[in-house]
């Protein structure tokens, strides 16, 4: 891969390295009497130039966390800071790569990629075009620049979406289970592609996933969330050397990380499972006692 540079020729390294801090962030839904807390007192630091992966049992509030950091929703209490300044609403400083694909179906790959800078008008036309061409080349979609998203394969759509996010030069890239729904083969290729992309520029990255191995091979820090409402259960520092290779998943260290993470996740999953069981048991009891 060719090193990425801005149109002016200066390396982009500085633009992609924001520091995110979550301080006692909580979020719930519903009125007071039926309030459901989804995120509870989460404090977390996403270090600049590092990839922080977040894993948790399904339905634990990962997506809400993404929405909070992206600014689609605001926390009820606590603060979210980007480089020391509290974040407001959505901004291209914090770009999200969504689950499945969120490319505009009516725009071609090229039009999708230049969408952000074009509507903001914050980049000279020629520079934008050059940057888009460069990014298309980097994600291997030069030949597909005039195709519509429906004509691209799943893997191509994800790469186009990555390019669309990167061209906005976000200080933080947020990935919300970005490779979900891809077949196993494509998924592994995308992980490898993304790994190279990250290691080249080291943009600060918040990577939400439900796949442990994906998290371990990509992450510098692995955040394990508790069962709903989401709390930070543990942060594991992954000390595998970079550049990473997939073969490292077979190493003793990786195995230990995986064991530790799975144990915590299993515990949390069991909690939610037994909670459901006790609710069910209570319900059955209530119904049967009514009958007698």
């Amino acid at each position: 891969m060719k090193p990425e540079t801005t149109a002016a020729g200066a390396p982009t390294s500085a633009s992609g390295k924001g520091r995110i801090e979550l301080q006692h962030v909580s979020k719930g839904y519903g009125e007071a009497w039926e309030r459901q807390e989804v995120v509870s007192d989460v404090s977390l630091e996403i270090a600049p130039g590092k990839l922080t992966a977040v894993v948790g049992p399904s339905g634990c509030g990962k997506s809400t966390l993404v929405n909070l950091v992206a600014g689609f929703e605001s926390p009820e209490s606590g603060r979210i800071l980007l480089n020391g300044r509290p974040v407001g609403g959505p901004s291209h400083e914090r770009m999200v790569v969504f689950q499945e694909t969120a490319l505009m179906p009516w725009l071609t790959t090229y039009q999708n990629i230049v969408f952000g800078p074009r509507i903001r008008g914050d980049m000279p036309k020629k520079a934008l075009h050059e940057e888009a061409v460069k990014l298309l080349d980097k994600v291997g979609l030069s030949e597909f620049k005039d195709k519509y998203p429906i004509q691209l394969s799943g893997g191509m759509q994800r790469r186009a979406e990555l390019a669309r996010a990167i061209i906005n030069r976000p200080k933080l890239l947020i990935m919300d289970e970005p490779f979900r729904g891809l077949d196993a083969m494509t998924r592994e290729l995308m992980q490898e592609f993304f790994l190279r992309l990250f290691e080249e520029n080291r943009r600060t990255n918040l990577f939400v996933t439900s796949e442990i191995e994906e998290a371990i091979i990509l992450a510098d820090h692995l955040v394990i969330l508790s069962n709903r409402p989401a709390r930070v259960r543990e942060v594991i520092d992954i000390d595998l050397p970079r550049p990473r290779e997939f073969a490292m998943l077979g190493s003793r260290e990786a195995y230990q990380y995986k064991r530790a993470a799975l144990e915590l996740l299993h515990e949390e999953a069991m909690k939610s499972f037994s909670e459901q069981q006790s609710v069910q048991a209570g319900l059955i009891e209530a119904i049967s006692s009514r009958g007698s």
Partner: protein, 285 residues
């Protein structure tokens, strides 16, 4: 290999293969044509069977055979009145349809975008929507000064409700991730509407248009049959059929029916064509 060695054999085979593939490419067309031809033959035999069998077949025996219909058609084609019927019906359909589009699309989008407007306008809209267009005829005859205007109004209503409900539904079901992605990239309200909501609603706008066009034809023809042939608000293909019925010409009734079929087909083809032109990303499969 042997075929490749003899030049003429190879080119002959190639040519044959070429013709065969061209035929296969048009297979859809051929099948369609064959089905229509078969229907016509069965119809002809069915309605002429009475002469051979000495008794009429049920249903089909009453209908004039296609040859007789074609003869009747050939008779009316040079007549000015026939083409005037086409012109009058098309004029009414287009007037009603276009006005419904012009009012309905912005209204539907407004309801979709603004919660305030939805809360105010949607309830009365939903009360008026189930009223069939033809139930509006008496009221509109009293309300509007001319028959022509009342027909136009009723036609407008027929398409209007369908278009609004389709546009509203389409614009309200836009994938939230598209809206959020645009928000992150700094889209203003203006961008949101013109670059996301409008293109994302196009498919449902065209669905609404296609359904609305069908309703418009129904309403126009019914209205033409009711109003009869006068100087005002009369004529049209609907009246053509009614007139043939009064005159007892079975052949002309069928001619009128097929004329409407062709007119409807032309209208919906036009909408499909426009839809394909406006939404290139949708005709890729």
């Amino acid at each position: 290999m042997a075929v490749a060695a003899s030049g003429t054999g190879a080119s002959g085979g190639g040519l044959r293969r070429l013709r065969w593939s061209a035929l296969k490419r048009n297979a859809k067309l051929w099948r369609g044509a064959a089905a229509i031809a078969l229907t016509l033959v069965l119809w002809e035999c069915g309605s002429r069977a009475s002469q051979q069998l000495g008794m009429q077949l049920p249903f089909i025996g009453l209908i004039p055979p296609p040859t007789a219909v074609l003869a009747a058609w050939a008779e009316v084609i040079p007549q000015f009145g026939y083409w005037e019927s086409w012109y009058l019906s098309f004029k009414r359909v287009l007037a009603g349809f276009l006005s419904a589009m012009v009012v309905g699309i912005p209204f539907g989008l407004l309801l979709a975008v603004s919660r305030y407007c939805r809360e105010i306008f949607f309830p009365p809209f939903e009360v008026l929507r189930p009223i069939p267009p033809l139930a509006w005829v008496p009221a509109s005859l009293i309300f509007w000064p001319t028959n022509e205007l009342s027909i136009a109004f009723v036609t407008f209503l027929g398409a209007f409700f369908t278009i609004v409900i389709n546009v509203l539904g389409g614009a309200r079901s836009i994938d939230i991730r598209l809206l959020r992605a645009a928000q992150s990239m700094g889209a203003t309200k203006w961008d949101m509407f013109w670059r996301i909501v409008l293109p994302a609603s196009l498919p449902s706008i065209f669905t609404g248009a296609a359904v609305g066009m069908g309703i418009t034809w129904e309403v126009v023809l019914a209205a033409e049959m009711i109003s009869g042939g006068g100087t005002q608000g009369g004529g049209g293909l609907g009246f053509f059929i009614w007139n043939s019925y009064m005159g007892g010409s079975l052949e002309q009734i069928v001619v009128g029916m097929f004329s409407i079929g062709i007119a409807g087909y032309l209208s919906s083809s036009a909408i499909r064509y426009l839809g394909d032109r406006c939404m290139p990303w949708r005709r890729l499969f």
